[in-house]
Symmetry: C2
Subunit: 343 residues, 2 copies
Amino acid sequence: MAHDRPLADRAAQPRRRARVTAADVAEAAGVSRSAVSRAFTPGAYLDADKRQLVLKTAMDLGYRPNALAASLQGAATDLVGVVVGELSNPYDSEWLAALVSALNASGKWPIVLGGQAEGLDESVTSILSYPLDALIVRGGSLGEALIDNCTKLNIPVIFSGRVISHPAIDCIACRNHIGMVQAVTLLLESGRRRIGYIGGPPTLSSEQERLAGVVERLAEAGLTLAAQVTSDYSFGGGQSAMRTLLQDTSPDAVVCANDAMALGALSFARNCRNLTVPEDLAIIGFDDIAMAAWAEFNLTTVRNPLAKTVDEVLRLLEGRLANPQKPGEVVMIDPDLVKRGTH
Amino acid sequence: MAHDRPLADRAAQPRRRARVTAADVAEAAGVSRSAVSRAFTPGAYLDADKRQLVLKTAMDLGYRPNALAASLQGAATDLVGVVVGELSNPYDSEWLAALVSALNASGKWPIVLGGQAEGLDESVTSILSYPLDALIVRGGSLGEALIDNCTKLNIPVIFSGRVISHPAIDCIACRNHIGMVQAVTLLLESGRRRIGYIGGPPTLSSEQERLAGVVERLAEAGLTLAAQVTSDYSFGGGQSAMRTLLQDTSPDAVVCANDAMALGALSFARNCRNLTVPEDLAIIGFDDIAMAAWAEFNLTTVRNPLAKTVDEVLRLLEGRLANPQKPGEVVMIDPDLVKRGTH
DNA sequence: CAGTTATGTGAACACGCGTGCATATTTCGA
DNA sequence: TCGAAATATGCACGCGTGTTCACATAACTG
């Protein structure tokens, strides 16, 4: 019977062709396996000539120490989970690109989950099977339920874009409230009074903070929102939100919860309603994605500093790895207003 | 001396707090470690009640089998390397997002390298320390030298966007030549005669094929390029390329090697030279990124089918994993012309 | 009841690696 | 020349799994 054949026979038909191993190199070079291991370990006792021979042989055979087997001894894996939601929001794409680049530069290898909403929780559960050094989560892309899972597995979690009230979790977020106050102040100063708002998914804490910033600054000036539409952080969503907004009201300014929607709104106002921006209508976004600076749009927006955010994520990561027991840190980043041509 | 303290002492101060292990669960549940392993192995002999008890205990302790340790027995790791160059080209970002999403959906976990040009080779070498199931490489982001490394390590390589002449490597690419022939044909049919070209990095094979398509179709009509500028596949690069182009010549059409440059060129022509597109000047791009369809641009372009490309990558991957020894497959995808408002 | 088969289970092994320990070899000082 | 210190190296262990193997118990069969 097939399942009864001896080991040697089974080894002749492995599921996956075996990887070159330290034992192979040892045999080929005529040294002990320990010597091979030592040749790849800086500072280990090994005759210089012999080390040279081993490295040469390893090179010929294409041998590399198996990082996974090595991690069994307690070494760090340098594997970091990165969870980002649907990438329909360009800011998320830019965040991911910058983060991946920075992680690579410091010798960490990101396992990326994203692009899909459904099944994301399940996916995260799956990658917890790997001994990750840490898990980096973008904004509201994931429930807090997974924190328990991670702490039980001793995998540190770092949130970017949301503040979690948990004693041992590092967070980094933008002061959304302040950013929106700045934006509305700018509009009020230039005489706008009928101000509308296009928001993102209301469940996101960042969305709530941004809306609150707008509403409170308006209240301070004795005003309320002229109109409010909820959308999905995408360009297309911004377009249709603007259509809805202009059906019922005629605002003289619209604040958008992110740049992608602002660009969509801007596009719709110009091309489908023949409005002149900013004369007929001012539009302000949030994030300052690369496209916002393009001449076509020249969007006035609130910058959500990307480079600084990623730098801080890496700083928190290094700190957490150096001292897993240290208390959680919350880093708040100040946005700044970028005045361009749509206000 | 510190390095002489016995094992038990050292274990009390581990570098990284240990992960919950099968032995821990076994002890807590009062069963053997084998039973724990069996509880997580579908189809293994184990009393239903006992399995239930083990799973319950594991849940409480937050235990998950360590996928890396499991892979030592020969199981697949489900880890896939994904190499993408600088993400300045939006098409690359879209490709990455779509690929990550598709991989996740089929239970593969991508380790992503990219966003940086320098040090990329070194990074790839580093992740070869992990027993990857496969390596997926985007276009010209990497030299062919790594193929040897991978084959020695028995890690299959799949190229997307470039054809490699190697007997055991899977490739998938777009028929760039055909796409450009279609684009130029469209321009010729509408009476354009002074046709310029904005290209990407000349070392990329895709770039060479696209240029060749343009030149050959022109030659067929008895024409040559009215002007030619080389740039970097980015929006800003397209802008400055257009400036250069318009300094020396006055073409009635410009073909761009990708959409990002086409949008930059379009933006520059309109906003900085007050040209009307397409009346004064036709512009055609390549890729059909999401932004090309935006009302502001409404770019006529050659679609490089993204969904189909990713589907094929996954099909090749599954096929390769099912049969590592099968001969390499080359999949060519036909582009199609998307006629919008800039021709 | 004896004999065969089905059903569970724990001990032991292998996977690839780094490293402590003990031993073998060389170098050095007196 | 001899002992001690320094240097080099092989053996063996453990990391956390899945799985084989031998064995124990329960369930049938006639």
